[in-house]
């Protein structure tokens, strides 16, 4: 008997995460394509070379003579060493090539700040480390305006023999005082020894007078037996607050500003904290969507349309920019977003607008249908209920109730001008729910209930509705 108390919750999580099976046609079609493309490897054949005793004796003699030659001739040893050292996996030198993975390192705590490198790798092309820093106080962190006043940390990876390679910051996942992760990248290690230490002159993103300096983190690498397995994906692409441009420094100097103007509020949701980073091939804009109503959530950031306009009212092409901003708490009422323009934006006034954001309203909306309507099929069919959510009108229509074999099915359609995507409906003796898209703006809800369904007393309740906002939310910002 399994007594693991977590098992039950794990079962529920597994079910909540479960996905539909692949389509049978797709599966069989891919299967036959793969079968066509597959060529069986030759079965492993044992060596068919049969050495004769005479040949073996001759070979042994040659080996003895060769070893004796090496023993008495150091120049020959060096020559052979240099030849073999070019062949991966074979050699007489202590350097080896291949891929190495960081062994999960314990965190190091200095003056209350925690530093940790528990992910990273070294290959013949590059060395990549993921540095995690947490526990900084607000006083330690410098403000957005201060970043040019403080020195940037110098990162080095030092071997036991004190040979160093320089590492540079390439990206970060930033969450202010809750902590951050920095991707450090450097050249390949010349000679590989398992034990290293990462040193940094001061704490990144922090005032060096108030935060730890001269930090050392021990690191060790393990060789990966199979390179295909090991290399982790360290894909942090959010630029650092002080992102620097290598070329054309004068024109492309990093610029960053937090716009303080009040958001134009057409909804409890607001665009806030726009940050601007000039890259060589475009401008990166990133910020947050926030809301202050706990009955509201934005299940994901997926507007139907994102518009960026300049002061002349021209729409400027824009792409989503991949960002992974860690949300340290599940109660946070915000979502991150980021975009990149196709060309660098010059100084001026701009407006960004998100149209068709999906909002999830988590609130009980009882469905009440008068008894006289319930008793008349055609009246029920034509009956409509309107729910007003912050000015967005949600219409429930096309009610239908059927009963068979002790089970009732209630179906109805939920629609709104902006479009409805999902809903959760409950009642007592509930036995199942399915939701399907009718058309672009409407969904059909089918609720199964054991016994009769009661629509006159408010016991059937909509628990949440996901709908697209009709109005766009927008914000003006300035590039200085």
């Amino acid at each position: 008997m399994n007594t693991n108390p977590n098992l039950n919750i794990e079962n529920y999580i597994a079910q909540a995460m479960d996905q539909p099976m692949p389509d049978k046609n797709f599966k069989s079609s891919l299967r036959s394509q793969l079968n066509k493309a597959y060529r069986k490897p030759d079965k492993q054949i044992s060596s068919q070379l049969n050495f004769r005793p005479v040949l073996l004796t001759g070979l042994a003699t040659l080996v003895v003579l060769f070893v004796a030659f090496l023993f008495f001739n150091p120049n020959a040893v060096n020559a052979i060493r240099s030849i073999f050292s070019f062949i991966p996996g074979v050699g007489l030198t202590d350097s080896t090539s291949g891929d190495y993975l960081i062994v999960g390192e314990e965190a190091v705590r200095v003056e209350g700040v925690t530093f940790q490198v528990d992910n990273g790798y070294a290959t013949s092309d590059e060395t990549v480390l993921l540095l995690k820093v947490s526990g900084l106080t607000p006083e330690m962190l410098y403000t957005e305006d201060e970043h040019n006043l403080f020195p940037k940390p110098v990162y080095q990876l030092l071997s036991k023999a004190n040979k160093a390679i320089d590492l540079t910051e390439q990206g970060a996942r930033w969450d202010g005082i809750s902590g951050y992760e920095i991707k450090l990248i450097g050249p390949a290690l010349e000679k590989f020894n398992g034990e290293y230490k990462l040193t940094m002159t001061n704490t990144p993103f922090a005032n060096p007078e108030l935060s730890p300096t001269e930090i050392e983190l021990p690191l060790s690498f393990n060789q990966i037996s199979d390179p295909e397995i090991g290399l982790p994906v360290i894909d942090l692409s959010l630029p650092l607050p002080r992102f620097e441009i290598g070329e054309n420094q004068e024109h492309l100097q990093s610029q960053e500003s937090i716009q303080a103007e009040a958001t134009e509020i057409v909804d409890p949701v607001q665009i806030e904290g726009i940050k601007i980073v000039q890259d060589t091939d475009g401008t990166i804009l990133f910020g947050r969507l926030s809301w202050n109503d706990e009955s509201l959530s934005i299940p994901r950031f997926s507007p139907l349309k994102v518009v960026l306009r300049n002061n002349d009212g021209e729409n400027l092409p824009i792409d989503f920019y991949p960002v992974q901003e860690e949300r340290s708490s599940n109660d946070l009422l915000w979502l991150p977003w980021a975009f990149k323009t196709k060309q660098s934006l010059s100084s001026g006034n701009y407006e960004i607008a998100f149209e068709g954001l999906v909002e999830r309203r988590i609130k009980d909306y009882p469905i009440i249908v008068p008894t006289e309507v319930l008793n008349d099929y055609s009246k029920l069919k034509a009956y409509e209920i309107e729910i007003d959510i912050d000015g967005t009108s949600i219409i429930l229509s096309d009610f239908f109730v059927s009963q068979a074999g002790g089970e009732s099915i209630l179906s109805f359609i939920i629609g709104s001008e902006g479009g409805v995507e999902d809903a959760m409906v409950f009642t007592e003796s509930f036995s199942g729910l399915s939701v399907s898209q009718v058309d672009n703006g409407r969904i059909k809800v089918e609720l199964r209930v054991s016994g009769p369904v009661e629509l006159s007393d408010g016991s059937v309740i909509i628990k949440s509705i996901d709908y697209r906002m009709k109005e766009a939310i927008s914000k003006d910002f300035v590039i200085p």
Binding site: N11, M17, A37, K43, E326, D422, S431
Partner: protein, 186 residues
């Protein structure tokens, strides 16, 4: 709750014998395909939330496995190998489209609705489903690799580049957090 967790993480080494027979040319490649296609597809679907893209990525994965199979050395870690490739294919896809969110049609919780569940189960699943989506990407990936890919902790560790004990620690800490969230909201 009638649903029974299908994952039997600790008894999947047996598959290695089958993998070995494919590598030796004794079995067809379809043996590997049949073993993994459902889990690989579900893994991709849980990341991209779009069946067509999940199918494309699944095809890419299996053709990649087919061409890289000779490079795989039988070290008893085929699952970690195939899901590392899956993860890399997903991130490559992400870099190519650079469009997080535009086509992000969230998979509906009704997809996983089991009609035999009672109200409280349904409520719990809805809460869980909503809550899981608020977790950060690393935490969601940990749950995905455990519950969708059905990997053992040692294999998850290999895929995400952590030790087995660190992976276990993160996993159980996460489960505890989810539990306390549910308790607080129940």
């Amino acid at each position: 709750m009638t649903w029974i967790m299908q994952a039997d993480h600790e008894h999947q080494e047996d598959n290695e014998a089958l993998i070995l027979s494919v590598l030796n040319g004794e079995e067809e490649f379809s043996v590997i395909y049949d073993l993994y296609v459902d889990r690989i597809y579900k893994y991709f679907l849980s990341r991209v939330h779009d069946t067509a893209t999940a199918e494309d990525l699944t095809s890419t994965l299996f053709f990649s496995v087919l061409s890289n199979l000779p490079k795989y050395r039988h070290v008893g870690r085929f699952q970690a190998w195939i899901f590392t490739i899956a993860r890399n294919i997903f991130y490559k896809h992400l870099r190519e489209v650079k469009q997080i969110g535009f086509e992000d049609i969230e998979s509906r919780y009704s997809d996983s609705t089991n009609l035999e569940n009672n109200v409280s189960d349904q409520e719990l699943l809805h809460q869980l489903s909503t809550h899981i989506k608020t977790l950060n990407d690393d935490e969601q990936e940990l749950l995905r690799l455990r519950f969708i890919a059905n990997l053992k902790f040692s294999d998850i560790g290999r895929v995400i580049g952590k030790s087995e004990s660190a992976t276990k620690k993160s996993f159980y800490r996460l489960i505890e957090r989810i539990k306390s969230y549910l308790e607080m909201n129940s």
